[in-house]
């Protein structure tokens, strides 16, 4: 089974702190994604990466950056956390290639609270 793990299930940080959210997948997938999930808004794409050291902005990249130094690991960075970044963060991965590569596999999520 594909496994996507996230470093923390719950995280509490203070305004202005630098925050790192880590995601690791064990199936050699080329593509990895970071979403945030807020009630009534569904999932919104922050960033994705289609290869090591490659990244693309999603729909809401402001206030975030990402790092992908190794294929299996995709990090989301909040340079200076703010209260409006309190949310559930979901990581996902997907293999490249045709129709069979369509599905995204999700981690369990990190619930971040910024005080």
């Amino acid at each position: 089974d594909v496994k996507v793990t996230q470093s923390s299930r719950y995280l509490v940080k203070r305004t202005g702190e630098k925050v790192f959210l880590e995601c690791v997948q064990d199936m050699d997938h080329e593509n990895m994604f970071w979403y945030r999930q807020d009630p009534g808004l569904g999932l919104r794409l922050i960033y994705f990466s289609y290869d090591v050291k490659m990244k693309e902005k999603g729909d809401i990249p402001e206030g975030y950056s990402v790092s992908r130094e190794k294929k299996e690991r995709f990090s989301l960075i909040l340079e200076s956390a703010s209260t409006n970044q309190t949310s559930m963060y979901l990581c996902a991965s997907r293999p490249s290639g045709g129709l069979s590569g369509g599905e995204q596999f999700f981690g369990p999520g990190t619930r971040l609270t910024v005080l």
């Binding site: 996507v4 299930r9 593509n31 129709l99 369509g102 999700f106």
Partner: protein, 112 residues
């Protein structure tokens, strides 16, 4: 602009009753369509997907969905709901495989 609409925020059904969750999308061509389920405190799990071919798609846990091009809909159905189906359900449309657009979700409650 691409959009996915799930008009029902909350739905409550009795255990054993049938279920239909609605999903509509706006996109010029026939997109790839997905339904995911999220149990409390968990990530998203794929229920089923539609790429092409037969418009009635079978998924896991007894769910099915029907793609109707004329209505731009991809509604999720289950003939008999179980208490373990209580969760939040998300419809998603794929522009390309790296751009998923998710609906806002429908929370399903199941009455005993």
């Amino acid at each position: 602009a691409q959009s996915v609409t799930q008009p029902d925020i909350h739905i409550t059904v009795s255990e054993g009753a049938s279920l239909e969750l609605r999903c509509n999308y706006s996109y010029g061509a026939t997109p790839y369509l997905f339904w995911y389920v999220q149990s409390p405190g968990q990530g998203l799990q794929l229920l089923l997907k539609y790429f092409s071919g037969d418009t009635l798609v079978q998924g896991i846990k007894g769910f099915e969905a029907e793609f109707k091009r004329s209505q731009s809909s991809f509604n999720l159905r289950k003939p008999s709901v179980h208490w373990s189906d209580a969760a939040e359900y998300f419809c998603a449309v794929v522009l390309n495989f790296n751009k998923f657009y998710f609906g806002s979700g429908t929370k399903l409650n199941v009455k005993p």
